[in-house]
């Protein structure tokens, strides 16, 4: 759209090697003022490496960076900031016990010994008005929602005069409505001549947010497209290197017996505050129940309560009719509950142990992996080889420490172990988070096949498309409460979005009609 002759930023022939991996292989990048560039690629394609080079966290082995036509050396994030480059990382870099204003000036090099916080607040208000980044400069970070925290991160960059903003998968933590607001913010900024680079692996976002898109595949730049002249299908093919099925084959399933029942379950979070309030639902065999919600609304606590990792404060949990409310994790494992945790490296796997050992971590308790308390290394290896093949886990050997595998392959190993051990209920928390198209497809297929085998699946996800494609029913959690349970065939992203923002199903406009008066329909 913006064919000004001078690019603000150029990266030429950037190459970066890590032991055993070529993370970036002569990658070129051009960014013009007023432009949003999407950087699209699978996990491990080299998007984050490239951006980390741009903000000075890594040094390139080869290649050069030019800012406004001048060759520059970026040794640290401070150098990058001085050049007007700033990045909003996936995990926010904010100090929770400090205010917004304090966070924004934190780390500024030209700060007076005693900063004039009132002046800082005034400037923040001014900037937040100009860019519609609504946030109270005097609020503490811990008081803010995730979406607001992201606004603070963006304000931080703008305050420092950033001309090039890098956003690393910014919509992962947002409701659809918040994502739309973010789009508006970017539009104002680009209208002023600022530019943005947007890391993502979601095609829809590329289409809505960007002007240009650059596709990376295995460290190499494989395509440059004008967004208006491409399609999600083409992008998916460019990214994966083959056609991707977007429609998964979801067979009709006969509902089995009730596997999981929650009777007004309440639980506290780590700080002792209510995290779940009287949550009630049940899941039958052959059914996937999806849980939607913005992160931090009780989803992780729900998974922990069901798997025995968190105490139930009130209510009852039944599995196949048996009361297992205060059961230990082991009792629940024995009752056939499997769990794909949100935190793969921290909880789901033991990084320093071999892939084979990690695969055996559920089955080691009995034959054939162990006999009378003694492990059978040969059987463990045999089992591991079978799992590695069946789930197409890419690992040099079964004895490689699992931390050397990519995120997608670690996730596949966890899935393999949990699916093999599952005998009733599968609790899957963000199972496809951060995975690329190929791995996501594999994970979803596995969950669907679990369902076809008559197992019950509790799927917690932040990806509404995913829930709509594979779940049978969807329920939305907001502030630890259930906003409603709807069959996925009868719901839309908009409806879910409203419920995620705290509007109970009962208060939504009637299904199918566009009646704007709330509270008129008994859902």
């Amino acid at each position: 759209m913006n064919d000004q002759p001078k690019p603000i930023l150029e990266m030429l022939g950037i190459t970066k090697r890590f032991p055993g991996v070529l993370a970036n292989d002569h990658v070129d990048l051009e960014l013009y003022p007023g432009e949003v560039l999407a950087l699209l690629g699978e996990n491990g394609a080299g998007k984050s490496t490239l951006m980390n080079i741009l903000v000075g966290l890594y040094r390139p082995d080869e290649g050069e960076i030019r800012m406004r036509g001048q060759r520059v050396e970026i040794h640290s994030p401070r150098d990058a900031a001085a050049l007007g480059i700033g990045m909003v990382h996936q995990n926010f870099m904010l100090v929770k016990t400090m205010t917004v204003a304090e966070n924004i000036i934190l780390g500024l090099s030209d700060l007076p010994f005693v900063p004039d916080l009132r002046e800082v607040s005034r400037r923040i208000r001014e900037l937040s008005q100009r860019y519609r980044l609504q946030v109270d400069p005097d609020a503490y970070i811990w008081q803010l929602s995730v979406g607001e925290q992201q606004r603070v991160e963006i304000l931080k960059l703008v305050y420092r005069g950033a001309e090039v903003l890098i956003l690393d998968e910014p919509t992962a933590v947002l409701t659809p409505q918040e994502a739309q607001e973010l789009q508006g913010v970017l539009r104002i900024m680009t209208a002023e001549g600022k530019s943005a680079i947007f890391i993502t692996h979601k095609m829809e976002e590329v289409m809505t947010f960007s002007d240009w898109v650059r596709v990376l595949q295995q460290g190499r730049l494989t395509a440059v497209r004008k967004t208006g002249e491409t399609s999600p299908q083409e992008l998916a093919r460019l990214m994966v290197g083959r056609e991707v099925l977007f429609r998964l084959d979801r067979k009709d399933c006969v509902l089995g017996e009730k596997v999981l029942e929650l009777h007004s379950v309440s639980a506290l979070d780590d700080r002792g505050l209510p995290a779940l309030r009287e949550v009630a639902f049940d899941i039958h065999g052959g059914e996937i129940l999806g849980i939607a919600g913005v992160a931090g609304n009780g989803q992780s606590q729900l998974a922990e309560v069901v798997t025995g990792l968190r105490r139930t404060a009130q209510g009852r949990i039944l599995i196949r009719g048996k009361d297992l409310t205060h059961a230990s994790p082991l009792e629940l494992i024995r009752a056939g509950v499997s769990h794909i945790p949100a935190d793969r490296i921290g909880m789901g796997a033991v990084g320093n142990m071999a892939v084979a050992d990690n695969l055996a971590m559920k089955g080691y308790r009995g034959s054939p992996l162990s006999e009378r308390g003694v492990l059978r290394p040969r059987n463990i290896l045999e089992f591991a080889k079978r799992m590695i093949e069946a789930f197409r886990i890419s690992t040099p050997t079964p004895n490689t420490r699992i931390k050397f595998l990519s995120g997608g392959n670690i996730q596949k190993a966890i899935l393999a172990r949990e699916i093999d051990a599952c005998d009733g209920l599968m609790v899957a928390v963000y199972p496809a988070r951060g995975l690329d198209v190929g791995a996501t497809e594999a994970v979803r297929k596995m969950l669907l096949s679990q369902r076809e085998q008559g197992l019950a699946v509790l799927l917690i996800s932040e990806d509404l498309e995913e829930l709509l494609t594979i779940a049978d029913r969807i329920t939305v959690l907001f502030a630890g409460q259930i906003m409603g349970i709807v069959p996925s065939a009868e719901t839309t992203v908009e409806m879910l979005g409203l419920m995620m923002a705290g509007v109970p199903l009962a208060d939504l406009p009637a299904l199918g009609t566009h009646d704007p008066t709330p509270g008129s329909s008994p859902a």
């Binding site: 090697r17 032991p19 082991l330 494992i333 420490r401 990519s406």
Partner: protein, 371 residues
């Protein structure tokens, strides 16, 4: 050209052997400089140390006398450390093991058959050590009390209890006021192999093999490994962390207790002053230097035993001040500890010009394979 310090993807066997050897040579070099400064001939000093530690069957036995308690306590400490349980109470567990073994040797004599006296004394010693480790372990596992302080403070309790006993109620009436109990009956003497080297060596080797088997071949060991590596994962996998840590610590304490029992029945043959000379603390260094590997503990313990004996040699034969022996011990330890870094990391020289194509070597983090 640049020098890059990067983490090894897998620890090479070569490095595992080469690194300690080279570190040891560096240590000798550093020690030599120090000896030259203080006017001693490094070669003759080292020769004296070597002769005094490995030079004869007798000197080797003296080295082993020091090494055996280090092996047993080192093994005990390494199990605890694997659980990330900072047991610094091996000294107290050793002393209490010695006290309990002495009690059995002195007071069960004639009560139980002679043939059972030694086995019972050793068993009682192990139980006492286990109990002494079980106290901080139980407090930690069920009440969350920090183990570092409790295990450390229990050392003083055990040491003072022992000295109360040999100065007070258990003192040998015919001992001319010497602080110590009467000599144990011969039935409670731990047999010696040669010199003063005793059966404790056999116990230590068996213990190392047993530990290796437990950790690598049993279900329990598998759970212990998981707990040691990642407690969150262990909890998620349904492993009872509190009970397992407690059991591991009982085993840890039992080994230190065994060390104490062997000391009193094999060396002094009475409970007397000098039982607590810091083996339990040195064991912490032994365990770390051996990187918690049970067989490596045996070798490191021999090295440390040699350093202790060699330090005495420097003092006696070379007429250097006693502190020189200690300084040399430290000099030798530092490069060894620093060197262990190179088993995990390596230095790589990178030449700028020819774009050295890194072969996509086997483990490729980040390169996703589609399914």
């Amino acid at each position: 050209m640049r020098i890059v310090f990067e983490k090894r993807q897998s620890i090479s066997r070569q490095a595992l052997i080469l690194v300690p050897v080279i570190s040891f040579l560096v240590s000798l070099l550093l020690g030599a400089i120090l000896l030259l400064i203080s006017g001693a001939n490094p070669l003759t000093t080292y020769a004296a140390m070597a002769r005094g530690t490995f030079g004869s069957v007798y000197s080797l036995s003296e080295t082993l006398v020091k090494a055996i308690p280090l092996m047993l306590t080192g093994l005990g400490v390494s199990i605890a450390f694997r659980m990330q349980f900072w047991n610094i109470g091996a000294e107290g567990q050793l002393v209490l093991g010695g006290v309990a073994a002495a009690w059995a040797a002195l007071f069960l004599n004639g009560v139980i058959p002679d043939a059972l006296l030694l086995p019972v004394a050793i068993l009682v010693g192990m139980l006492a050590g286990a109990f002494w480790a079980g106290v901080p372990a139980g407090l930690k596992a069920y009440l969350g009390v920090d183990e570092t302080l409790t295990s450390l403070m229990l050392n003083y309790v055990a040491i003072l209890l022992a000295s109360h006993l040999y100065y007070g109620p258990w003192r040998d009436p015919q001992g001319y006021g010497f602080p110590g109990t009467a000599q144990f009956p011969a039935a409670a003497w731990l047999p010696r192999l040669w010199g003063r080297a005793h059966w404790g060596l056999i116990f230590a080797v068996i213990a190392a093999a047993l530990l290796w088997f437990i950790l690598n071949r049993t279900r329990w060991g598998f759970e212990l490994k998981i707990i040691g590596e990642n407690k969150t994962a262990a909890h998620y996998l349904g492993i009872n962390i509190a009970r397992n840590v407690l059991l591991a610590l009982l085993l840890s304490g039992a080994l230190s207790g065994l060390a104490g029992a062997c000391e009193v029945t094999g060396i002094s043959r009475r409970l007397q002053q000098g039982l607590s000379i810091g083996y339990g603390y040195t064991a912490i260094i032994v365990a770390w230097m051996a990187q918690l590997n049970s067989f490596a503990v045996l070798f490191v313990a021999v090295l440390m035993g040699a350093l202790l004996v060699g330090g005495d040699q420097v003092q006696m034969m070379m007429r250097l001040p006693a502190s020189m022996g200690l300084v040399l011990q430290g000099m030798i330890l530092f490069p060894m500890l620093a060197g262990s870094l190179f088993t995990e990391y390596r230095l790589r020289l990178i030449r700028r010009e020819p774009a050295t194509e890194t072969p996509p070597a086997t483990p490729v983090p980040g390169a996703e394979v589609q399914s």
